[in-house]
Symmetry: C2
Subunit: 113 residues, 2 copies
Amino acid sequence: MIYSSELIKGTLKTIVLKLLADNKKMYGYEITQKVKELTLDKIQITEGALYPTLHALESDGLVTIETEYIGKRVRKYYSLSPSGKNKTKEKVSELADFMETMQFLLDIKTKTV
Amino acid sequence: MIYSSELIKGTLKTIVLKLLADNKKMYGYEITQKVKELTLDKIQITEGALYPTLHALESDGLVTIETEYIGKRVRKYYSLSPSGKNKTKEKVSELADFMETMQFLLDIKTKTV
DNA sequence: CAAAGATACATAAGTTTCCAATGTATCAGA
DNA sequence: TCTGATACATTGGAAACTTATGTATCTTTG
């Protein structure tokens, strides 16, 4: 089962930031594979969503880029900047809070009836 | 604190369906107030988001409408249709599953490091 | 009793954010 | 040699929401 795409909306940026916080340094393709692996294929980040997101994070100054060559192939490593680390904490705790609220909403029936 | 709006995206339809499942019969304005109340003002559904959503649910056959007049003022009550009840179960369990996955992703660090 | 705020519906224009499709190129294995 | 994986990127389009605006009624308060 793959989650319907609308659920990913609004969480992608947070997922990427969190992965970078946990892994110091990752490149785009690696991120897509890591998310796929960690979520047992239930979340698949498409490249059309990821790359614009990474570029946005960079232009917001939240990540820095190091380019490496593996043979002749380019690989761009992304790392959190100091402000990126702060932003990650904010986003993660906001999302955690939001999910707690949502879980309460979803469980209303069993809790109040 | 109010959640940044991108988090709501993709969950609104599920929230509305779930509220209707728990309360049998609600009207639009009531839904906005109920969500506000249950989430301690952290989720505020705007009318510009809610009414189109309700209309979409209706045209998908997931809800039925009863119109009432309170004095001269119209009030439209929404109820789940049979297929709406099934859809609610699907959407709620998908969202619950998604949030479990997300919580795992957010907690990776403390679980694996 | 007038004005403000709450109730209650609705739509339109604009933005954000993602998906699907497409493109380029390299590398590994059968 | 060709297929599939690796690795980047962009474009067009759809979906879902926000902001703004509109109409109208009812209630409360100075």
